[in-house]
Symmetry: C2
Subunit: 435 residues, 2 copies
Amino acid sequence: MSGSTWVPNNDPSSDFSLANIPFGIISTQSDPSPHVAVAISSYVLDLKVLVSEVDLTPIFTSSSHADVFAQPTLNAFAQLGRATHREVRRGLQDLLAADTPYPHLLRDNAHLLERALLPQRSVKMHLPMAIGDYTDFYAGYHHAFAVGAMFRGPENALQPNYSHLPVGYHGRASSIVVSGTPVGRPVGQMVLDPSVLPKQPTTGPSRRLDIELELGCFLATPNDMGQPISIAEAEEHIFGYVLLNDWSARDIQTWEYVPLGPFNGKNFASTISPWVVLADALEPFRTAGIENQTPLQDYLKQSRPDNVFDIQLSVDLTTPEGDTTTIGRTSSKHLMWSFPQMIAHHTLGGCPMRTGDLLGSGTISGPTAGERGSLLEMSEGGKKDVLLYGMDARTFLKDGDSVTLRGFCGVLGARVGFGECRGRIYSAMPKVSES
Amino acid sequence: MSGSTWVPNNDPSSDFSLANIPFGIISTQSDPSPHVAVAISSYVLDLKVLVSEVDLTPIFTSSSHADVFAQPTLNAFAQLGRATHREVRRGLQDLLAADTPYPHLLRDNAHLLERALLPQRSVKMHLPMAIGDYTDFYAGYHHAFAVGAMFRGPENALQPNYSHLPVGYHGRASSIVVSGTPVGRPVGQMVLDPSVLPKQPTTGPSRRLDIELELGCFLATPNDMGQPISIAEAEEHIFGYVLLNDWSARDIQTWEYVPLGPFNGKNFASTISPWVVLADALEPFRTAGIENQTPLQDYLKQSRPDNVFDIQLSVDLTTPEGDTTTIGRTSSKHLMWSFPQMIAHHTLGGCPMRTGDLLGSGTISGPTAGERGSLLEMSEGGKKDVLLYGMDARTFLKDGDSVTLRGFCGVLGARVGFGECRGRIYSAMPKVSES
Ligand SMILES: [Ca+2]
Ligand SMILES: [Ca+2]
Ligand SMILES: [Mg+2]
Ligand SMILES: [Mg+2]
Ligand code: NI
C-alpha cells in the first residue's frame, strides 16, 4: 500500500489523507437517517452503503460490521474495541490506496462508487457520539499558569494540587454540539463592578464571551463501577480524538464558580469537530508533554515519555464582515497530563466510564505570545485589544463572530487532521419574561 | 374515591398509600426485562402486565400507554408530560380505591391480580430513569452555612453569590445507582497532614467517607438549546422526586476541589431511591422555604411563597454488627432555593434539559443539632463522635456500614413516601498495580 489514494481531486493539504481515515456520522440526500462514514480527501465514503452492497470479508478478516455502520452514532462501532478499529481502518486504507489489491470492490465499480463516495459538501454532519458524560480537564500548563497568574500573581498561579493530579470537573453533556451549530450568547448573572461591596449582580447577555481551544478524547470501552482503569490499560479504552471549543462566559463564570466550580459559564454550548480521528491514526505523532518535576503517585506513572501528540492547532476568528484572522497557533503537546493519566485518575475511585464519554484536555496554550488558546489570555484579561484584519479588534467575542479551530499532523499529502470545529455567535434572546 | 385501597395487607405507616402511586422500574421472575410498575401498600402493580391484559380506556381517557409501560426506564412515560402523569395517576387511584368504580377490571379479576399485583419483596428494582445529565445544587442553607463556617468562620460562611443564585455544579451521571447497590469506598489522593508545607498527597482509601441527604428531582420534558425555561413554566417540566444520597469522600474532595469544584470526591457513587414520587403527589405538602433577604433577579422571582415541600426526612446508620441508629431527622423545607428556581437558573443561558435529567437539592440540614444531613456536620468536621447503638461511634463511615435515607409526608394511612434509599459500604480494592 502506497501513501496515496485513487480518490479523485486529492488536495495535498487535506486533513483527510489515506493516513487518516476518521469516522463520522452523516446523512445524505438519498438516506436522511444519520449513519457512519469515513472522510477521504474532499469526499466521504458512506460505510452503510458500502457494507450493504459488497462483500468485504476479504478486507475485514473478522465478521461484517453492517449493523454498526447503520447506527446513528459511532458508539456501537467504538464499543467493538481498538483491535476492530485498527482492522477496519487498515482495511479501508487498502480499499482506498492507489495500489489497492481490491480494485474491483470499489475503485472500478462505477455503480457503487456513485452512491458510496460522495463530496463532503453534499452531506450533513451530525454529532458523532451519544455522549453519556463529559469531563473537562485543565492539563494545559501554560493556560493554567497564565490564568492563575492573572488572578493571584505568578507566585501563586498554580494551586498546590496542580502538579500532583490532573485537575478536572464534570461538564454538561446535553449542550455538546457538532461543528457548524450556531451558539447563542448566554444570558447570565454577572457583577459589572466588582469593586462595589457588597457585590451586586445584574442579569444580561455575557459581555466576556470567550473560546477555549481543546483536544477532546472519546472513550471506546467501559469499565465496571468500582474497577479503575490502570494507566497501562488506558490507551486500549480510547476510541479517538476531536477538536473541542469549550465556549466560556468569563463574567458569568467569575461570579458563580466559588466554591463548586464553573456552571452556567460553560454549559450553554461546547462545539466539537465532526470527524473522530482514531487513536491509531495519531500514533506516529507522539511526543513528550510538559515536564512535571513533581514526583507522581504510582497510579499516574506512565512508562512511555511520549504520552501526548504534536498536533498543529490554530484558531481563526471571522468577523461579521467576513474578515478572517488567525489569532492563535500552538501545539497539543503543551499538556502536562496525558489522556491515559486523566483516565487513570478519573477512574481511581471507581467512577465508571461508558462508551462515548468525552474528556476535554483543558485549554491548550503555548509558552509564547501568539500561542494562546483563549481570548482571556490574548487580551490579558480583557485589558488589551486583539487586532484583526479589517481594522477591527476584540477583547472578547462580538455577536456574528465565527471561531474556527483547526488541527493536523504530518506532511503535505499525508496529513492526519480534524477538519473544522466552527461556531458562530448569535445574539442573546431578550431576557426571559415571567408569564 | 375514598382514601383507602382494597389492596390487602395494608400497613398505615406505608409510604405507598393510595395518595402516592409512585412509579418505578421492576423485573420479575416471570418477566426479567425491566419494565414499569407503581407501588401500592406492600405490593407493586405491574403496569406492563396490566395494560396488556385489560382495556383501560374507561379509566385513561386518552390513548393506551402500553408501549411506555414496557420500556426499561420511565423516560418515555415522563416525556408524555404532566397532564398525562396526572391522568394516569388518577386512573390508577380509581382502580385501586376501596370504592373503585371499576372492580371488574382488577380487584375482582383473580387471574389478572395474581400476575399483576406482586409483593414488593418479590420484585427487583432498577434505576428508574436513563439519566442524561446530573446537576447537584447547594440549596440547603443550614448545611452550606455550617460547612462554610467550619472552613472560613461564621462571618464568611457563605460566599457572596450564595443568596443571589442557586449555586450548583455538574455531577457524574454514570455512577448514579439505585437503592441497594453496594458502594465501594473510593481510593483517591488526599493530604493526611495539611500543616506540612508544601502539601504532600498520598493515595489510598478515603478515611473521611460521608453521606449527603438530598432530594432529587427528575425532569419530564426538555427545552431546546438556547431557550430558557422560565420560572413560571418550570413546574410543568418536572416529572417527580426521589431521595438522593450524594456519597462524598471529604479528604479526596478537600485536596482536589480548588479551583474547579468536586470531582473524584463525588463521582464514585450517588444512590437514589427506586420510586419516583410524581410532582402531583407532593402538591398537598407545599410550604415556604427558607427566607432569602436578598432582592432576587427577576428570572428567579417566584409568585407563590410555598415553593418547597415539607417532607419528613431521616438518616439511619446500621453498623456491620447490625445495630441501627437514626443519626439525623429533618425536613426538606430547609432549602433556600426551590427546584423551579434551580431550573430557571440552570437554563438561563440556554442550557438544554433533557427528559430524565436529575437535579439534586444539595445537602438538607435543619437549624438544630440532630437535624444534620451529613456526618461532616454531625461530627463537626471529624472532631466529635457521633454516638451509635451498640456502644459504637463514628466520625465518618466504616466498611460494612449501611446508610438508609427515608422520607414521607402526610398522616398515617395516607402517607406519600419514597421507600428506602440505602447503600452499604464495601472495602476499597487493593491499589491499582501497573502491569
Ligand atoms: Ca475548558
Ligand atoms: Ca451534594
Ligand atoms: Mg463548554
Ligand atoms: Mg455523588
Ligand atoms: Ni392518557
